[in-house]
Amino acid sequence: MSSLSLRGISKRFGEHEVLTDISIDVAAGEFLVLVGPSGCGKSTLLRIIAGLIPASAGDIVLDGERVNDVEPRARDVAMVFQNYALYPHMTVRRNLAFPLKLSGVDRAAVARRVQETAEVLGLTGLLDRRPGTLSGGQMQRVAVGRAIIRNPRVFLFDEPLSNLDAKLRAEMRGEIARLHTRLGITTVYVTHDQAEAMTMGSRICVLDDGAIQQVGAPIEVFSRPANAFVASFIGSPAMNLLRGRVEAGRFRIGTIAVPCDAAPDGHEVVLGIRPHEVGGGGPFTLEVVYSEELGSQTHLHCAVGDQTLLVTREGHVPLPRGTRLPVSFPSDVLHWFDARSGERRRPISG
């Protein structure tokens, strides 16, 4: 098992800076998920770790050794790509064997390890088929197989499930997590899907605009987001973020006035509350603008001044437009963010 450290990694393409001062340590055997919206720089960071593109600044340290100038093949990392990147002219067997052959492993050992890997991933019946004849899920397994067959120091996954349908994605999610538990290889997994981030990683690192927003255990990031971006990105449906002003110790917006100890009077702040944590029974009433029934849940979109608050209720709760919905805002589930910087605000002392 290997440890990985990124120290002050930055990346510029011309004048455009896509990564800014990224520093993070990945412990040996850890499963770190890099999550963020499209274009936030997470795939670029993965490619820098793999050695496919150079960093403009900073160090990549593998097992205590700086590997910035080490070729990808010598870094002993394996990568699974979003589009699988299987070699279309080779059979599954040759795809799996390819990295071993290149590193000079003898034929008998190659054959044995191909067989073992195929058994682990359920590919034995597909060994003589070409990638073009496989389904998305099967191709994904082959891609994972090609990565694990070398027993690398670090696994890199670049949105490997994004081309699969929802059902298969859920299956493969579990399979990759089990594989990691079994092999214990240090893993960096890139995704834009917060559900994958929440369920797979031992830690998640939220990126936006080329910078780390928060690093922590999934539940910690979910329950204590460091800023408004993380609050809105992690969790589905997204956290409500209502912008308002503090007056006489209360956050006011529309007909709502909630006690607020996170900012002095006159300050603009953002109130965050998850849709399922909006309480019922009053003291406030909001007008339902429209509702969505998802089967097990109902989403009620309510007007709050000129903003919208999403309230989720378990089960089938259809409410027609214009219905007055009694709601409450329990103080222990509220999050406060600075309106200007978006950073989390703590209670003002004294």
Binding site: P72, R73, V77, N83, A85, Y87, H89, P99
Partner: protein
């Protein structure tokens, strides 16, 4: 419906424009000597002179030698052209190096120069090197990537393949040359066949370069031998056409054998931007 008929008619006319000269060549080659140009194809039903072919081969001299010379030149040119053009195309498409775009433009710019413009300096160069009356002047330009259009075709083809293939190969342990050789080249099969066929046709039918550089009779190619049928006072058209038919035969066979892959390569070349 009407548009379809016009489309078919256009195809038939285009097909005929290619087929008629071939049929004319075969028809003339089977007529008795002196009657090839005036005779009718109907005469051939009763009096087809297949012996014209044997006579034509005899007149060409040492046919097996001529054939072997031409095959050797063609094989070397195809191998050289396919290898160097694909390698250069791969480098322009996949490797990052300073001056890459400028160099590629320079390669493309050489397409503007007709062969006739470079013939004299090239001849002088090969004479200085002492290579006149050898096969080097005929093969070296192709082996050294002398076909910018093919380099362009390969570059476009390789550019269209996903960059992740390259990245996967690098992570799996490939050097740039191994990526080219083991991953990209096998994927470029339609383009390889297309370039090979074009090179085959160009080399097999080339008259200009052998005429300039080949002096010794034993090094002559089929096209040089064919030209000798053209005499000032007496040209045996029937024998010349028979010899032309013999020389053309491998071209037709190879085209039909590789037609499917060739068409795919042409489509790919036409669709890649």
């Amino acid at each position: 419906m009407g548009a379809r008929i016009w489309h078919r008619l256009l195809l038939v006319l285009t097909g005929l424009s290619f087929a008629v000269p071939l049929l004319f060549m075969v028809s003339v080659s089977l007529h008795p000597e002196g009657k090839g140009l005036g005779g009718s194809a109907a005469d051939l039903v009763h009096d087809a002179r297949f012996e014209n072919y044997a006579a034509a081969l005899r007149q060409m001299g040492n046919f097996p030698r001529l054939f072997a010379n031409t095959v050797l030149l063609t094989v070397l040119s195809i191998a050289g052209q396919v290898f160097t053009c694909s390698l250069a195309g791969f480098a322009f498409a996949r490797l990052r190096f300073r001056g890459r775009e400028a160099l590629f433009l320079l390669v493309l710019a050489t397409m503007m120069l007709p062969d006739q413009v470079t013939a004299i300096p090239r001849y002088l160069l090969f004479r200085v090197l002492g290579l006149v009356d050898t096969y080097y002047p005929l093969v070296l330009p192709t082996v050294l990537g002398g076909a910018p259009f093919f380099i362009f075709l390969f570059r476009q083809y390789f550019l269209a393949l996903p960059k992740e293939l390259d990245e996967a190969a690098r992570i799996d342990g490939c050097s740039p040359f191994q990526s080219y050789w083991r991953v990209f080249l096998p994927l470029a099969r339609p383009m390889l066949v297309t370039v090979a066929i074009f090179t085959f046709l160009a080399t097999w039918n080339d008259f200009w370069a052998p005429l300039i550089y080949i002096l010794s009779p034993e090094k002559r190619t089929l096209t040089l031998a064919l030209a000798e049928f053209n005499r000032t006072y007496n040209t045996a058209v029937e024998h010349m056409m028979a010899a032309s038919g013999v020389i053309l035969f491998p071209c037709v066979v190879i085209y039909f054998l590789a037609q499917k892959v060739f068409m795919r390569g042409v489509q790919v070349a036409a669709s890649k931007h």
